[in-house]
């Protein structure tokens, strides 16, 4: 069988930095190839060379047997290579149908857009994905997961031969992920070639036929998934043994730090729980179960409609994030880009923003030396890889950005730390560093609430796990009694009891 896409000895350098070194990469028809590698290994660069966003410095690319050099993304798209980006590239103010056909709207001879055709085609492709979305809906009104499905529908509607998916399941629920996997199966049967990029190793084994592993710009392995196990895969990715992905240190029981009683807020129908100083309480649940909303309500970012929040036995009335910070709550958002860090600003300004009051007196004058010292301390302690205290945040890797985000919430010296998806978009090595960090903070006596959709992670580092579904608490487990299956059952338990407004 001839390969659909065949790259040979591809080199790419940015200035003095060699990002890809003699990379070979093959996409075969009717097969899914996983592209694995840590952040910065060169995955995105390789994909951008394939889709014509970058030009290769050396090497060849055969597409359906012909030597190709795309110079724009448009050319590769027209040739039949579609890319589903990790970051949504949809225009929120346009309708779903307009987004799916953006740039290639069907027109008649006078240039009038054929709305009925857009409507029909969009409906067809959304139905393939089992999505009941009206193509005339404004895209911005959809949930992130639905928008991801629209993005996938767009790629499908191009009738591409090669489909590249960059972390497509990151914002999908399990149900939608399953639908996506079914669609992938169908595309395979149609003889399409698929490239799947994911940090979730489980998915690689579940749905991919081959795996290609990049490390520091070298293709260190390409072969069938069946011939490799998870440990070998990780070893290839990081180039060393990862002894234990989830280093766990048991909690030392301490006093109740946070007490939440009958809390009602947006997306939270009723929640009561306690969390102690020096323990990690994990929150499991599907996307939309109300975990993010619960965290925000406790922090003061979302209004509390009724119920009590007590910290160290004192009732709190938190009406803004400012109140939350002053009450000793640190909050790390799931959406680093939109809510967590000012991407165009430097490390220092980002990290000291929440706890700026610690470096200023009543006059508001900033003690820049104290600030610099503390920020430097965090950069060293968290081994944040940066070329300086004022390096622009957007130029850091995902893992390093996440560490900055966590450090930022720690500068005000909180008593409680709320971590919402702290390892999303973070590579395996950096993930482990973050787990170690969580353990250290726990040992220092912080009370940590951990919201995560990554089940092994949740089971791996939590002392207790609470399950939320549909804004309600549907399960509570100690570390020893929790397992994936029981938790999964609880995550859907609340779904029958009506919906949250």
């Amino acid at each position: 069988m001839t390969a659909l896409l065949e790259l040979h000895a591809v080199d790419k350098a940015f200035g003095a930095v060699r990002v890809l070194r003699g990379v070979d990469f093959t996409v075969e028809p009717g097969r899914v190839v996983a592209l694995a590698g840590e952040n910065g290994a060169g995955k995105s660069t390789l994909m951008k060379i394939i889709t014509g966003i970058y030009r290769r410095d050396a090497g060849s690319m055969l597409y359906r047997g012909q030597d190709m050099q795309f110079t724009t993304a448009r050319q590769s798209m027209d040739a039949g290579i579609a890319m589903i980006h990790q970051e949504l590239n949809l225009l929120p103010a346009l309708s779903v149908g307009e987004n799916i056909f953006l740039g290639r709207e069907p027109v008649d001879r006078t240039g009038r857009i054929q709305w009925s055709e857009i409507d029909r085609e969009a409906r067809y492709w959304l139905a393939q994905l089992k999505q009941d979305i009206d193509p005339r809906t404004e895209t911005g009104r959809l949930s992130i997961a639905q928008q991801q499905m629209v993005e996938i529908a767009r790629a499908l509607s191009m009738n591409a031969e090669v489909i590249i998916m960059d972390e497509p399941t990151d914002s999908l629920t399990d149900v939608e992920t399953k639908i996506l996997f079914d669609v992938v199966g169908q595309l395979k049967a149609d003889g399409k070639g698929l490239v799947f990029i994911s940090h979730r190793l489980g998915e690689i084994f579940q749905m991919c036929d081959d795996v290609a592993i990049l490390r520091d710009g070298n293709m260190v392995h390409q072969g069938p998934v069946a011939e490799i196990d998870e440990d070998t895969l990780i070893r290839h990715m990081v180039g060393r043994e990862l002894s234990d992905q989830y280093p766990f240190v048991p909690a030392k029981p301490s006093d109740v730090r946070l007490k939440v009683e009958n809390l009602v807020a947006k997306g939270v129908r009723k929640m009561s729980f306690e969390a102690r100083a020096g323990e990690v309480v994990g929150f499991a649940g599907l996307v939309g179960a109300g975990r993010t909303e619960l965290g925000k309500a406790i922090y003061g970012a979302n209004p509390v409609r009724s119920g009590r929040v007590e910290i160290d036995g004192v009732e709190m009335q938190l009406r803004s994030p400012r109140d939350g910070v002053l009450a000793g709550i640190g909050y790390v958002t799931e959406d680093r880009k939109l809510e967590g860090l000012i991407q165009s600003h430097g490390l220092r300004r980002n990290m000291s923003l929440t706890g700026l009051f610690r470096f200023t007196g009543r006059s508001g004058h900033i003690d820049k030396r104290a600030e610099r010292e503390e920020i430097t301390e965090y950069i060293n302690a968290f081994s944040i890889k940066t070329h300086g205290i004022d390096a622009i945040v957007s130029q850091l890797s995902g893992g390093n950005q996440q560490k900055v985000s966590i450090a930022k919430s720690l500068v005000p010296q909180p008593r409680i730390l709320i971590l919402d998806e702290p390892t999303r978009g973070v590579d395996v090595g950096a993930k482990r560093e973050i787990y170690t960090l969580i353990n250290e903070l726990k040992a220092q006596g912080l009370c940590i609430l951990l919201m995560s959709s990554d089940m092994p992670e949740l089971l791996g580092i939590s002392d207790r796990i609470l399950v939320m579904s549909n804004g309600l608490l549907t399960g509570s487990f100690d570390r020893d009694e929790a397992d994936q299956e029981t938790i999964m059952r609880c995550t859907v338990a609340g779904l029958t009891e009506g919906t949250v407004e």
């Binding site: 909050y331 600003h345 700026l356």
Partner: protein, 319 residues
Amino acid sequence: MKRSFDLKAFALENIPLIGLIVLMAAVSLYSPNFLSVDNLLNILRQTSINAIIAMGMTFVILTAGIDLSVGSILAFAGAVCASMIAADTPLMVALLTTLVIGGALGAASGTIVAYFGVQAFIATLVGMTMVRGLVLVYTDGRPISTGNFDVANSFYEVGGGYVAGIPIPVIIAGFVFLICWYVLNNTRIGRYVYAIGGNEQVAQLAGVNVARVKVIVYAISGALAALAGIILTARLESAQPTAGLAYELDAIAAVVLGGTSLAGGRGRITGTLIGALIIGVLNNALNIMDVSSYYQMIAKGAVILLAVVLDGRSKTTSK
């Protein structure tokens, strides 16, 4: 780690300054008189009013806002100040009252932006229109004279006086610059201003009282516009109902020339000062060269366009 001096990086960082120097060098070749102390002081004095307004505007633009009402606030402040002087109000009382009025008008726009969620452009456009109307009502469309009391003579010093050979408006602008520089670079509120412009949602979630900072920022802009109004009125020895028309545009031009991003979160007050000086030097040079005032506007527009395009290009290529 010791950093060696990187000329290219310095040049990219300081395009406005280099532009100003090149402009001055070019004009001095054409007219040797240009670099005389008298002419330079003259340029500084003429620039001071726009510089003061532009520095307030910098605060607003850094939060990703805009303030179109400064010209109208300048006129209203000037009219109120003139009538107070004409009524023999003690100088300091008159000046402080005027500044407070300017600040309050600015804070009103700020409140509409911050608490009612109206876009800054619209909110301050409304402010610009209504305050201009207020000026016309207050002055009945006629100039207000500053009267014949003794206080009027000391008031004129604010616009026309000198200390140690330096025009008082220049000294005032210098003080305003130092204070603004300090606030933006060394205080909490300064950091918050940048943070809000960088990403308002991030700032909010980090515990910044975004709405309050916005109100303060527009109040600063209003107060500085009022200060400019005082200087202009003192210089002209009367308040004109049409004073400050289109001044907001010169102020915005100075801020943008200085390299501050209209999208907010990025920029420097030093840049604004240089931007105002570029406009001042340009006006002066075109006068010296005897260019008709009709062509002056075209030339000014062209220079601003050129500067902004160059600056934008340097920022995208340096990434």
